[in-house]
């Protein structure tokens, strides 16, 4: 809960300064790179969360690691986090910034649960239909879940579009057993 509140503040500040500096696109690609690095290297993640490393030392190492890889704004942002001793919250802050950037760009992620994998054509059809309904650009993330039985369940933020066979069967059960 507390982490989320911190993450929101930092993420909002980062996006705003990127906006002011006119480097939103740079930050966007840099953020993707940073996210990949964090996910790809457990050592790096451990380095950020390690409280034994002194802030000064951490700052130097951060400069060395990210010196050329990240746009200047993002690099100084990470340094700021280290200085403020918020580097442990880096992962949630990055995720929150990603969400904010996507929201600005009108991009929404749809999490799809399906009993079997979807073909490219099916994914494309689902995507265009969801884009028509929501009026936003969709990113589709598919998860295979056998309990769906058939059809699919789509979650976009809090809204759920449930077209699964499992739910249909449960509803049929309700309809048949309902008192008349």
């Amino acid at each position: 809960m507390r982490t989320l509140r911190i993450a929101r503040g930092y993420a909002k500040a980062l996006v705003q300064s990127a906006d002011d500096a006119g480097s939103v696109a740079d930050v966007d690609t840099g953020l993707t790179r940073l996210q990949e690095m964090l996910e790809g290297s457990p050592d790096l993640a451990a380095f950020f969360t390690d409280p034994m490393i002194a802030p000064g030392v951490k700052g130097e190492i951060v400069d060395q690691i990210f010196g050329d890889d990240l746009p200047p704004l993002l690099q100084s942002f990470v340094s700021l986090l280290v200085e403020k001793r918020r580097e442990r919250e880096l992962a949630p802050i990055v995720a929150e910034t990603r969400r904010l950037l996507d929201e600005r760009a009108g991009i929404e992620t749809a999490y799809v649960r399906s009993a079997i994998g979807l073909s490219d054509a099916q994914t494309e059809e689902l995507k265009s239909n969801l884009e028509r309904i929501t009026g936003k650009t969709m990113q589709i993330e598919v998860e295979i879940d056998a309990s769906v039985l058939g059809g699919f369940v789509v979650r976009i933020q809090d809204t759920i579009y449930d077209a699964s066979t499992n739910t249909q069967i449960l509803r049929l059960q309700d309809a048949l057993t309902a008192a008349r």
Partner: protein, 510 residues
């Protein structure tokens, strides 16, 4: 005899159900249960949820969103929380909590969500109204002007209640608070007042008894019982009086009259305190949350006498408060006391001395007084309250030495004693206005002064019988609202005199 099983019949019904079954995509907004305990769920998600919106938990459990926080929603559960687990999906319903209303609800027992619990089958109403509603504004109201008689001499004579008034009934346990409410309901028979009895946190057996009493007196046909027994979770107890008020408002807003009894608001405040503490709302005095005054003020504001343009209907409220050890200065009693238009104070001392209803006339007040009495009653009762208060004061003094009293004081004491006797009344026997007028008239004008105190109840009964037998026309007249004029008063005095001649005092009979 078991019915013949016919497979073709069954498959036909199943086929019909299947044909009617349409496959469609279920679209809803959802959240996830983060934490659950004490009947409270913390839910993540539900970004667009409204305050006090109904939520659907798994296992047909309903909930209500109460705390909307930055990253989670605090919700109370209206059912068994053992069905709900951490990680479960919670659905928004888009509805604010509501209850079915209508004439169909009369004669029934429902829970605060409008679910039938008397086993008499479903109720089909055409209308539902939200449980939490705003009280009518100033424009839609008018001052209380019509009496809402309880049928109790002591109440109608000294602290009359008007249609649209809020009168508090306060006192310790087991001294006849509920009895006043039940008698008031029984007395509304044939008076076009619809009644709602809201039981909050009471024993199931008590409610069963009330149901039976109301049925026996033919009072159930115009009464709805909203039951939230002690076994229900706190949120159910909490919404019960609001649900009862909504049922009454249906009658009020369709130009009719309703009476709602909240029995009792102490347990209501307890239930709200329990919820508020579990929701981690800051605790104030006696651990009640800060808005416990608003809890009751917004409920009791819904009682109103509507203006003629708004239909002229009314909703009268009789909130009941239970005190501990006669202490009326604690938090909740003082709150409700200040909200209502008067209070009836019940005292154990009087109750155990056999003065029933055990209302303390000196401390009990109706702030509407004369406006809530018919002209006929107002004329007869006059300063009855002040007279009784003086009697009690003199009585307290007289205890120091009764033999040294002067004649006028002794007369005052004797009349007061007989008046007190006349104001006693058995439970479930509300009296029509003419009987009340007769009893109070005789007491105030000293018509009982010559008979023994023990004989007063018999005097009263025979007086009522005499009038019913000999002066039926006069009883009809005394049931009307208009003041009795001088001629009629003379006729009344003459009739009472003639009864006194026929009355045989106890010693003479023995």
């Amino acid at each position: 005899m078991a019915q013949q099983v016919r497979p073709d019949e069954i498959s036909r019904i199943l086929r019909q159900s299947l044909e009617r079954f349409a496959t469609e995509v279920d679209v809803f907004e959802s959240g996830t249960v983060l934490q659950l305990g004490d009947g409270i769920a913390r839910v993540h998600g539900l970004q667009n949820v409204m305050a006090s919106e109904l939520l659907e938990f798994p296992g047909d459990v309903l909930g209500m969103a109460l705390n909307l926080e930055e990253d989670n929603v605090g919700a109370v559960l209206f059912g068994d929380s053992t069905h709900v687990r951490e990680g479960d999906t919670v659905k928004r319903t888009g509805r604010i909590i509501e209850i079915p209303v209508g004439d169909e609800m009369l004669g029934r027992v429902v829970d605060p969500l409008g679910r039938v619990i008397d086993g008499k089958g479903d109720i089909t109403t055409t209308e539902t109204l939200p449980v939490e509603r705003k009280a009518p504004g100033i424009i839609d109201r008018q001052p209380v002007r019509d009496p809402m008689m309880t049928g109790l001499k002591i109440v109608d004579g000294t602290t009359p209640i008007g249609r649209g008034q809020r009168e508090l009934v306060i006192g310790d346990r087991q001294i006849g608070k509920t009895a006043i409410g039940i008698d008031a309901i029984i007395n509304q028979k044939g008076k076009d007042v619809f009644c709602i009895y809201v039981a909050i946190g009471q024993k199931g057996s008590t409610i069963a008894k009330i149901l039976q009493v109301l049925g026996d007196h033919g009072a159930l046909e115009y009464t709805t019982i909203v039951s939230a027994t002690a076994s229900e979770p706190a949120p159910i107890l909490w919404i019960a009086p609001y649900a009862g008020a909504t049922l009454g408002e249906y009658f009020r807003d369709s130009g009719r009259n309703a009476l709602v009894i909240y029995d009792d608001l102490t347990k209501h405040a307890w239930a709200y305190r329990e919820m508020a503490l579990n929701l981690r709302r800051p605790a104030g005095r006696e651990a009640y949350p800060g808005d416990v005054f608003y809890l009751h003020s917004r409920l009791l504001e819904r009682a109103a006498k509507m203006s003629d343009e708004a239909g002229g209907g009314s909703l009268t409220a009789l909130p009941i408060i239970e005190t501990q050890e006669e202490d009326v200065t604690t938090y909740i009693p003082t709150n409700v006391w200040s909200i209502t238009d008067g209070q009836m104070i019940m005292e154990p001392g009087l109750f155990y001395a056999g003065v029933r209803p055990a209302m303390n006339v000196g401390l009990s007040v109706s702030r509407l007084m004369g406006n809530a009495q018919s002209d006929a009653m107002k004329h007869i009762c006059g300063p009855l309250r002040a007279e009784l208060a003086r009697f009690r004061e003199t009585l307290a003094f007289a205890q120091f030495g009764a033999d040294q009293l002067d004649a006028s004081t002794r007369e005052q004491l004797e009349r007061g004693e007989r008046m007190t006797e006349l104001l006693k009344q058995d439970q479930y026997e509300p009296l029509p206005q003419w009987k009340q007028i007769l009893s109070i008239y005789c007491g105030r004008h000293g018509h009982c002064d010559h008979i023994e105190v023990d004989d007063v109840p018999r005097f009263e009964t025979e007086l009522h019988e005499f009038f019913q037998r000999e002066h039926a026309a006069m009883t009809v007249r005394m049931d009307e609202y208009e003041k009795l004029d001088d001629d009629e008063m003379e006729a009344l005095a003459a009739a009472v005199e003639s009864f006194k001649l026929s009355f045989t005092p106890a010693e003479a009979a023995a």
